[in-house]
Subunit: 505 residues, 2 copies
Amino acid sequence: MSKAHSRLREHLHTTQLLGSIQSSLYYDQNTAMPSGGASWRGEQLALLAKLLHGRQSSSDYAELVAEAEADLSGDAPPQTKRNLQLLRQELQRQQCLDPALVGELATAQAEGYAVWQRARAQADFSLFAPVLERLVALRQQQAAQLAPVEAAAGQARSTWETLAQRFEPDISKQRLAVLFAPLSQRLPKLLDRASSIPPGASQAWDLAHQSQEQLCSELLDGWGYNRERCARSLSPHPFSTTLGPSDFRITTRVVPGQPFSAFLATAHEWGHSRYEQGLPRSGEHWFPWPLGEATSMAVHESQSLFHENRLARSAAFAERWYPHFRQALGRDPWGGALGFWRDLNPVRPSLIRVEADEVSYGLHIVLRYELEIALLEGDLPVAELPSQWNRRLRELMGITPAHDGEGCLQDVHWSEGLFGYFPSYALGHLISAQLSGAMEANLGPIEDRLANGEDQMLVNWLAERVYPLGRSVNAEQLVELVTGSTLTAEPFLTYLEQKLDRLIG
Amino acid sequence: MSKAHSRLREHLHTTQLLGSIQSSLYYDQNTAMPSGGASWRGEQLALLAKLLHGRQSSSDYAELVAEAEADLSGDAPPQTKRNLQLLRQELQRQQCLDPALVGELATAQAEGYAVWQRARAQADFSLFAPVLERLVALRQQQAAQLAPVEAAAGQARSTWETLAQRFEPDISKQRLAVLFAPLSQRLPKLLDRASSIPPGASQAWDLAHQSQEQLCSELLDGWGYNRERCARSLSPHPFSTTLGPSDFRITTRVVPGQPFSAFLATAHEWGHSRYEQGLPRSGEHWFPWPLGEATSMAVHESQSLFHENRLARSAAFAERWYPHFRQALGRDPWGGALGFWRDLNPVRPSLIRVEADEVSYGLHIVLRYELEIALLEGDLPVAELPSQWNRRLRELMGITPAHDGEGCLQDVHWSEGLFGYFPSYALGHLISAQLSGAMEANLGPIEDRLANGEDQMLVNWLAERVYPLGRSVNAEQLVELVTGSTLTAEPFLTYLEQKLDRLIG
């Protein structure tokens, strides 16, 4: 390694340290901090954002990158080149941003989150509207500041596309139109058909907090959860985060009346964490270089959804877990594993995205994706968001929220100014399905493997092929590399059709 | 406020933000972090320490202080002058320190802590001796580097005295000799007398984790614990910390076979937190200026000890809590409130400081205080620490540890190079007793107030007189200001004698 390369590595290492401090504060904020701590925490996070932005856009850092580029010999490994390309791209983006905007955004995000919590609790959109307007305006400014970089790279990107790059590198509205069209078209029909699935449970049931906790523990222990590297906690919204190379955290929540919620969220967040735990951490080109990072939110989501839907919601898993739940509950409202499986897989139009089933989930994303483009690219005033939300939801699923708390105020993302994030969830479903197809071509039906308790074989398949790629390829390249085909919605829709057939029975 | 003053204020505000980030990471480390996160967390903390040291010793900061000093008009309020004096003093100290030494110390502390954990677990002092030697040498260097500042201020301080200033401003060995002499003299006799206290419980008992948790909750709720400003957690060692102006955390632990441990630790840590919560946070001279900070570790400890010993271990409290514990336990090993009170107040020679009673605690401190002075000022080679520990412990309490794990390896402080800290614990006992005397002169006997459930009246007395002083006075000045008398050991020893009389009955 050249001297310039070492110095750059050193710099990135410290940047990683600072970034992980930010994540640690975020984890504490969501799992332990009393509400009174919010405004000070906001100041702490804004300070760290400023320090990080300083490091990532300083002339010292720019010199380090330039020196490493100048040092690059013609026969340097492709990984070295890719790392430098990714760093150069990010540097250009950071240099375009006005530090004042970075600070304002951090403050607006913290305030947005605090106000959104109140607005949602009171189901009062008018509380939230002013902060949302401010966040939209700040993100528009951000996109405008970033435009020259995109233009210089030969990419004329819209406001929404520019903002979406940090979640989904190289994504475009045109590509999403192709991928999502079959979803808007075919999912509503599947949702109609799902109404003929027989009910799973003969009566309502719920599980004590402690029992749910116990079932989540058993689930994770069976999947190789290691207490020396991982910690779990409760938070208002389940999430997964990496706080250090050997420090992984996942959270869940217990929702009264939704006894599968904690169990499925645990499977989901563990899928995220497994991906992070499997990212390449050693070797000259990986940690702390860009190549050692997750490549996109969609790929991240594909891993969590695989654990949630292909493993935890499978028929074979239902067969295995039915006795555990029966025992925890002390009675049997399902009358057999098939009923239990159906109960684990309700498919029906629903108001809340995070509780949605695999069919309606895609429609929730289409709704948000369309609205956030309209908000950011000037076609939708913030004040009209609730009415447009309700109108489009009726078209897609035929239902209407009783109030905005279960409508356009339900998600945290916009409260933190995260626009461009939602499509990654739907792409994750598509990628998970296409990877699963390739996995089945190699290993035989997933259901068969799970019936034999060979969960680890399935996860190892991903750990060998997907996790070690890091950021060496983008999401679509990854799919092509691992499955041999271009990403389409077809495997996902076929999977859903077959699953519905089995659920209808 | 002058412009220079505002700029300085801004700088201090950011320094407070960085410091509180450090505390947040420490809180997480002790309450949530998996063990695998330790080395990365060490790197994060070292980075923050470097950033903080940079801020506190930079020429930019020095200029800000100098400008504010130059701007100081003759009729400036005394608080402004005091703030600038305290900042100047701390700046001079930071500037004297070689950054290389600061880095070496941070590394040696992290290593010291890790090695100490192993050494204590294996009760093997020889493992710990080399790192302790290094820490002693580094602290001696630190004291030597700080000497010119002390000399310039007209204070010729010894090595130990110099190091103790950060915990106990203005403390001297001469003053401690006066204050501690009556402890070494009279506590052993009290300990002898305590052997005639009748046993409190007729048989061993313990409480389920959940019941202890419940009792701690009730205790805090009765004391005005506010979930919007405070959070609680479990940690291997109980502690209290302030993470923001409205973000206070306390922790406790549940120790098998010691069913009062969590309850008393909760009272203790709440006392620390109440002091922090009562520090002046608003007004031109307070937060984020030095005046808004705690004045010394001894004053801090006096507040925690007041809550633990004067409130939670009082006879009136025992009367009130006896039914709660009886109900939680489901039986009655005490046969009445008096037995329960005695059980809450065992007094006997003991090996472990953190579990010691009010009488033997002072002797534990005398032991450590004498030994650390000998270590630092050249009279005691590290290798002889275990034998000297055991010799002096026999003199003071007539007992001998079976191994060094329950002897000189028991405390964490020296492993992190914290020399000069221990005396603050004993001073806290003295201060708590003297403040209690003045309180009783105002409000009548504490026991009577507690019997009437007027706990809040007692705490308010402290909140009005002690907490708002911040760093405007040092510990001894505070005692003199609040009680009208110079600090002595007399009120503490008198209190113990009277309590023993009542316990013997």
